[in-house]
Amino acid sequence: MYAKIISATLKGIEGIPVRVETDLSAGLPAFLLTGLPSTSIREAGERIHRAIANSGYSFPEKKITVNLSPANQRKEGTQFDLPIALGILAADGKIPAAMLKGCAFLGELSLDGKIYPIRGALALAAGLRKKGIRRIYLPEGNAEEVSLLEDIAVYPVRSLAELAEDLKNGVVPEGARLETAPVEADAALSDFADVRGQEAAKRAFEVAAAGNHAILLSGTPGSGKTMMVRCLPGILPPMTPDERLEVTMLYSVAGELKGTGGYVRARPFREPHHTVPITALIGGGVSPRPGEISLAHKGVLFLDEFPEYDRHVLEALREPLESKRIVLTRLTDTVAYPSDFLLAAACNPCPCGYFGDPEIACTCSPGEIRRYRARLSGPIMDRIDLRIHVGRVKYADLSASGDAGPRSSEEMRKSVLRAVEIQNARYAGRRTKRNAELTAREIKQFCRPTAEGEALLENAFSRLRLSARAYGKILKVARTVADLENVDAIDARHIAEAIRYRTE
C-alpha cells in the first residue's frame, strides 16, 4: 500500500529531485500532505481527487498520506499533481509500481484529467538529469523546451487516463525528440545601418559592447537614444550553446517561454519601465521568480529615463552588476539567479528634455535641472563606464553621412567579436572575463599605458579636472579601445578616446 515516484521542485533555476511517497492506510478517508508543500501543492488534493475520478478510476476511500522528500526542502509548483495522482493509483494497485521505476513525472492536472504545462520544466529536467534520471514523463506543452537536453528521453503526455492505460499495459512509449524551434526575440531589433549621422555615438556602443561596459546616453527627446540601444544586442557576439541553455532555463523558470516552449536564440533585450517595482526588477516574490535583470541575462538591460527610477531600485542593481547574479533571501529559502547583463541607460539633459537644444526652449528652472542631474550620481554611476551625448540629427546629416556610409551592425559585430576573443585569451582562467570587470589590481596589471599615454592622462587630469574615480574607468575603456584595434600597448590615442567617454 505504498508507492514512491520521482519528481522535482525548483530552487532558483536549479531543479531538485523530490521523492513523492504515497501511503494508503485503513482509517477515515483523508488526504494528508507533508514535506513543506506550498499552497499550490496543498490545493492539489481536490484537483487529483476529481482528475482520478474523471479518468475512469475510483478514488480510494482510505487515509492517504503523501510525503514529499527531502522533507526540509520547500516545494513549489503544480508539477506534483501528476506524480501524486500516479502514486495514489500505484499504492491502490491500479497500475504496476515497476513501471514507475527510474522515471520522473511532472505535470499539472485539470479536473477532467488533462495534463497541463508547468513552469520551469527545462530546469527541473536538467536537475533530474544531474541525478542520473534519463526518462521523464512531462506535459506535451513542455516537451519542446526539454528536448534541448540531448541525452534525455522525453515522454510527452496528454491526459492521466491515457498515461495510466499505457502504464497498466506495460507500454513504454517511444522517447520523443522534438525539434526545438527558437523563440523569436520579443522585439524585432533594429540594425545600426539604419542609424545615420550618429557615427560618434555608434562608436561608443561598439566600445561598450566589446568591453561589456555599462553605458549612459543623454540627449534630447527624438535624438534616437532608444533606437540605438535597441541595436545593441545585435552587435554582441552570438550566444554559445551553454549560454542559450542557461537563458532558456531562466525564461522557463519565469514562465516566459511563449506557446509550446522552444529556446531563446537571440540575446535578450529587456526594457522595464521606470515605475518598475524592485521585486519585478531584481526578482523575488513569496515564491521567488527571476526579475528583469535575470531575464536580461547574457543580453541587454535598458533603463530609459534613468533618473526617474526609484533610488532604491537603482541601488539594488549594484550587487548584480558586481557579482553577475542576484541572491534573494526569503523566510524559508535562499535562491540565486544569474544576472550577467549589459546595462544601457538613457536620460534627458533636464526634466523637460530640451536643455541645451538649439531650437526648443527648455522650460525647467535651474533648480529642477540641478536636482535632475543630482540623481545621476552616487554609487550606481560608479558602475557606468561610458557616457555619451547625442543630439537630434538634422536632415542634411541624415542624407549625407560621409563617404563610407553608415556602419552596419554586422560590421560592428565583427570587430566586437575580435575584441572579445582577445579578452577571452587574456583573461583565460580568471574570474574576470571582460575589461569592464577588471579589479583595481588587474587594471595595474593589464592596463599599463605607454609613457605618452601616461603623460596625456596626467595632463588631462589637471586640465579637465577629472576625479580620481574616473581614472580606473578611463584605463579600462582605453584597454577596450586598444583591443578593438588589436593592439597590446595602450597608447595615448586610446587614452584620448577613452577620456571622451568619461562619465564625469
Binding site: 549621422g197 560618434a200 555615438a201 562608436r203 586640465r463 578616446e497 567617454y501
Partner: protein, 292 residues
C-alpha cells in the same frame, strides 16, 4: 534657508564709503549691507549678467570675460545666480581679481544654496552686498529691484546669454535709464538664449567682438579695430582641419563633426581630447566649439 553668521557693515547713502556711481541713479538704495571690503565698491566695475541656464558656450564666455576683467584690474559685478552670473564671479576670482555679488536676499542669506562656496569665497576678494534687511528671504519681486544696483555700480553691463523675457534684459533696461553702456554678446540665430542678446543689439546695444571690449566700458583705453584671433597653439593636420571647420561653422555636434571631417569616430574622439586639453576647443553635452 540658512542664515549665515557673516560679518557685514552698513553703509548709508551719504556716507563717505557709499559708491558715487550708485548715488547718481534714480532711486538709489538708502542703505547697503556689505560683507567683505567696502572699498571695492568704489573701484572700476563692469557688470556681467545672463541666463541661469547657460549653454556650455555661454558659461565659457562668462568665465573668460570675468578672467579678462580681472587681468585688467576691473571689478566684476553680478547677481550670484546660477549659470552666467556664477561663471563670471568664478572667472574673476580665478583670474585673481575682485568681484561684487549683489543679492536679491538679505546679505546673510545665501541663495541659491548651490552657490554657497562662491558666496563664502567672494568676500575674501570683494564683497557680497544687499540693500535688503539681513535675514530677508529671496522673493520673485526682490530680484528686479536688485538688478538696478548691479547696473548702477558699473560703468557698463555685458549681457552674455539671455532669453527674450529675462532678468538680464531688465538689468539692461536699468543700465540704459542710468546712462550706462550695454554690451551684448552676439549669438547664434538658432539658439533660444541668443534672442535676448540679439534683440539688444538690434535696439542699439554695443556688440561684443572681443573680450578686450570690456575696456571700453570703463574708459580705460581706446580699442583697435576688430582683429582676427591668432592661434598660439601648434596644430597637426587633423587638428587644423577640425579647427578650420569650427571656425567656419561655429558650434557643432560631435556627430556632425564626424560627418564633416569624414574621420572615423574613434580617431575624432581622440583628436578632440587632445584639443580640449590644450584649450583649443570646449565640448559639453556632445557639442564642440572653439575656445582659442
Amino acid at each position: 534657508m540658512r542664515r549665515t553668521m557673516l560679518k557685514y557693515v552698513t553703509i548709508r547713502n551719504g556716507d563717505a564709503a557709499y559708491p558715487t556711481a550708485l548715488a547718481s541713479i534714480p532711486k538709489p538704495p538708502a542703505v547697503l549691507y556689505v560683507a567683505g571690503d567696502p572699498a571695492v565698491l568704489k573701484t572700476a566695475c563692469v557688470a556681467i549678467v545672463g541666463t541661469r541656464k547657460a549653454s556650455p558656450y555661454g558659461a565659457w564666455c562668462a568665465y573668460e570675460l570675468g578672467k579678462r576683467a580681472a587681468s585688467y584690474g576691473i571689478t566684476v559685478v553680478s547677481g550670484m545666480a546660477s549659470g552666467i552670473d556664477a561663471e563670471a564671479h568664478r572667472g574673476a576670482l580665478d583670474g585673481g581679481g575682485r568681484t561684487i555679488a549683489v543679492l536679491g536676499s538679505g546679505v546673510d542669506v545665501c541663495y541659491p544654496e548651490s552657490n554657497r562656496k562662491l558666496y563664502e569665497r567672494i568676500p575674501e576678494k570683494g564683497a557680497v552686498i544687499s540693500e535688503l534687511e539681513p535675514g530677508t528671504h529671496p522673493l520673485p519681486m526682490t530680484f528686479p529691484a536688485r538688478n538696478r544696483i548691479i547696473s548702477g555700480l558699473s560703468g557698463g553691463v555685458i549681457v552674455v546669454e539671455a532669453a527674450l523675457k529675462s532678468g538680464s534684459l531688465i538689468t539692461a533696461d536699468h543700465a540704459v535709464q542710468q546712462g550706462r553702456e550695454v554690451l551684448a554678446v552676439p549669438g547664434n540665430l538658432n539658439q533660444v538664449f541668443s534672442y535676448g542678446c540679439n534683440k539688444l543689439i538690434r535696439d542699439g546695444a554695443m556688440i561684443l567682438t572681443s573680450f578686450d571690449d570690456i575696456l571700453d566700458l570703463v574708459g580705460l583705453e581706446a580699442r583697435d579695430a576688430v582683429k582676427e584671433k591668432r592661434l598660439t597653439v601648434k596644430l597637426n593636420r587633423d587638428e587644423a582641419r577640425i579647427y578650420k571647420i569650427l571656425r567656419e561653422e561655429g558650434e557643432l555636434t560631435v556627430d556632425a563633426l564626424a560627418v564633416k571631417t569624414a574621420m572615423n569616430p574613434g580617431d575624432l574622439a581622440a583628436v578632440l581630447t587632445y584639443m580640449e586639453i590644450r584649450g583649443v576647443v570646449c565640448s559639453d553635452y556632445g557639442r564642440v566649439f572653439l575656445t582659442a
